[in-house]
């Protein structure tokens, strides 16, 4: 086994259960103050031989001692199932979903925080996994590693703090920050330039009439032409299925590489919003035109992790 320093956080893989050797406990500032007051009272009680003083010192001392167990037990056996986050744009705050579960008892007021980030308190109820939203600020695009996750608790009376520091291997994809601007597009699929439309029978745009065939829907019969005794016709409609574009790195004009990538990010978002199929072309990388959530993620992730040079 690798030797480690006492308080050093441990590299862990999820899911993990907080066991005895992962939990540290120490009095808080208030705890130290409390113990000092108790010590003073004890000396006073000895001096005045005041039995009620002794009683109070021992009552408060025993309660503090019992509270240590509560504090410790509040963390002991807590399961951290997963720590995941949805991608964010650079500069935004990533929200990590820390999924925790307690097998036996309800755990009150457990604090979660990444190093140097804001903490939040959550109560983990017995048996049901609880998702805690822990935030971490992001700066640059790429893979953001939030660092050590501190799980701590001061329950029940705030005199002691139990904590566990976990070096969890988790990361969040930070998309580049989009810079708004016009949408420069290279049209077409593959090398073909010019628009290409695939048309199929649809319901959106009226295309023309054709001879009635049994089985055509009754709503589509051209009653007007029937009324003019021109015969039975069926109205035909067409759908514009797709029109695909390419977002190309070489087409963007910007000062430096980062700005270019930011512009491309904005274009991807725009294209996605317009619901057109789009592909992404980076130096050495090409993503086929497609639509949808998954494709958008793939494109933005490629941009986020790109190390393209001009």
């Amino acid at each position: 086994m690798k030797k480690r320093f006492w308080f050093a956080p441990q590299d862990v893989s999820l899911p993990i259960r907080l066991t005895r050797n992962r939990i540290y406990i120490f009095p808080t500032v208030y705890g130290i103050l409390f113990l000092l007051v108790l010590l003073g009272m004890l000396i006073g009680s000895i001096n005045y031989n005041n039995n009620l003083g002794f009683l109070l010192v021992f009552l408060l001392g025993s309660m503090a001692l019992v509270s240590i167990i509560y504090t410790w037990r509040n963390l002991l056996g807590l399961n951290i199932l997963s720590v995941t986050a949805s991608p964010v744009f650079a500069g935004e705050t990533a929200v990590f979903d820390v999924v925790t579960r307690s097998d036996t008892l309800q755990r009150n007021s457990i604090g979660f925080a990444f190093k140097k980030e804001a903490h939040c308190f959550e109560t983990v109820f017995a048996k049901n996994p609880t998702t805690v939203k822990v935030t971490a600020k992001t700066k640059r695009r790429g893979l953001h590693l939030p660092g050590k996750l501190t799980i701590f608790t001061r329950f029940p009376i705030g005199l002691f703090r139990a904590w566990s520091k976990l070096n969890i291997e988790t990361s969040v994809v930070v998309y580049p920050k989009p810079i708004p601007g016009p949408l420069h597009l290279a049209d077409g699929v593959g090398t073909n330039s010019g628009k290409k439309e695939i048309q199929t029978a649809g319901v959106d745009d009226f295309k023309g009439l054709r001879q009635y065939r049994p089985g055509d829907a009754i709503q589509h019969i051209a009653w007007k032409s029937l009324g003019r005794c021109q015969g039975l016709f069926t109205k035909q409609f067409a759908n514009e299925i797709s029109r695909s574009v390419i977002v190309d790195y070489t087409m963007v004009r910007a000062d430096d590489k980062e700005k270019k990538i930011s512009r491309l990010t904005d274009m991807v978002i725009q294209a996605d919003r317009m619901k057109i199929a789009y592909g992404l072309k980076l130096p050495g990388k090409y993503l086929q035109p497609d639509k949808g959530h998954r494709h958008r993620h793939n494109c933005l992730k490629t941009l986020a992790l790109s190390d393209a040079e001009d």
Partner: protein, 646 residues
Amino acid sequence: MLRIELSVRDQDKYLPHIIFAIIIAILPHLGRLPLWIIIWCAAMWGYLLFSLRFQWPRPNRAVLILFSVFGIFGLLITYGMRIGPNAYLGLLSIMAALKPFEISTHRDRMISLFLAYFIVITSLFQSESLFITIYMFLSVFVTTGALILINDTTATFKSGLRLSGIIMAQAIPLMAVLFILFPRIQGSIFGLSGMPDATTGFSERLSPGNISRLVKNNDIVFRAEFEKNIPGANHLYWRGIVFHEFDGRSWHRSNRIPGIRYFPTGQSPVTYTIALEPHGKRWLFTLDRPASTPKWSRMYMDYTLRHLRPVNRKKYYCITSYLQPYKGRLWDIAPAQQLPAKGNPKSRKLAGDLAGNADSVEQLINQTIFYLKTNGFVYTLEPPLLNRNPIDDFLFRSKKGYCEHYASAFAFLMRAAGVPARIVGGYLGGEVNPFGNYLIVRQSDAHVWVEVWSEVSGWMRVDPTYAVAPKRITGGTSETLTKEFSGSLFVKWFKQLRFGWDAVSTSWEAWFSGYSYLEQRALIERLGIRMKSLKGLLTVFSLICGTIFLTVGLYVFFQLRAPATKKDRVQICYEKFCKKLKKIGHPRLSNQGPVDFAGYIAQKRPDLKPDVYEIIRLYVQLRYQKSHDTSMVKHFCKQVKAFNPW
């Protein structure tokens, strides 16, 4: 509980509870706080609570500082430079009143609640009564409840209090062990420096109005428990202080009385234990003639007993007294003959007349008593004011007075007639508590009487008040003065309750306050541990540590192993069955259903197949089938019990 809608700012969320905890902590001190501080606190908290409700404006920081300056000034005016527990309490109260106004962070809340703990602590140096002890637990309970509330985001005040109660209950055994075993020392580290607080009681000077003020006070002075029977009412004269010197208006205690060295024996000894409430003075109370001196005290020639330091904590002492007077002469009786050269001429003349007609001291006493009985004297607690010659004025003009006047006049007459006499201040009688067979003596039992010297019979007790109001002696003050109250059923019932409580708290306090070095050693030695040796000390130390670890260990064991849900019998038996199979190396996976498990076992151990199949069949029937009767559960459990995979 507090029912204030919490539609308030987040930082004010816990304000009512914090204030509630402080109020609970401060309540037992109300009697010790000056009125202005009580009003101050009530006003501050009232305003704060209403401001939560009605969104009144809050004072800003400058105003608060101004207020604190005012508060400190008020304290300085009230207490001056006398720094004692009362001043300390006053300061805490003023802080506790102002602190909630500036609560905004977790830190402020914690500090406010620590203030409440501090206030609880101050009550300890006040009294060790059972009431205060119980109240201390209540106060700690409420404050800890509030502490839990502010430390747990999901807690309600109710759940906080519940947890606080649970923690306290779990802490109590440990507390008890620590209390009993924690080594006590004899004496003190820095020297006992009790801080005297003004209490009522006798002063060293007997001047008009002293006693009548005491008689209206119902505080308990001491309790006396007799080893055997309680002596008759005519013996229950609790002597405290002897006044020898008369300056023409009032009587004083003499500082020139020497200490006693020799205790002559006598007849009819009674042994009794007195639990004296702290009174800030040095005298201890005894019956007639004590046969020995208790610890930390000194006996004087006039048979008064004085403690070495003012009695500022409850004092217990056991003493034996002889009820018969000592006939011999112990010391010079000159101080008992002193009279001012001038004043009260009429009385001096009366004394001369009375002495002329009497052959002996006894006769003189009888005649004087007779004089008081026959000349229209009235017993009252509100006598008219007397002029410069108080004895003359009382004997020949007003003829209205209480024990102090009669004793004073009587002693004067005796001395004027040439007979040594002195006035004794103390308490007369006391209430018998039927629950504990002990006497409760209150300030209202305060009394003064006279002792007269005769060569024949030594110092004799004479109670001139008896001549005028015999009931005052036999029945106590309350019966002569407050007849109209007694008799109603409620009063009787209330009295019973009070007696019961007093009996419980007295015996508790006797044990609790008395528990110190000697008692601890006795108790520990009864357990077979010799405290004196190093081994003994180590044993005690390891006992303490052992208890702590045992408590913690037991707690952890039961809390962590306890199943979260209640199991039924089928479940228990099935788990037992699985455990048996686990022992032979075929554990059930947690996601394995019963039939799969049976198949798995049948494959691994074909010999067990019939048994396992039968048990699983029963289990499945009990768990998953529509209907089954209770006898099947029994059958199932029996099968599991009989199942032996080895």
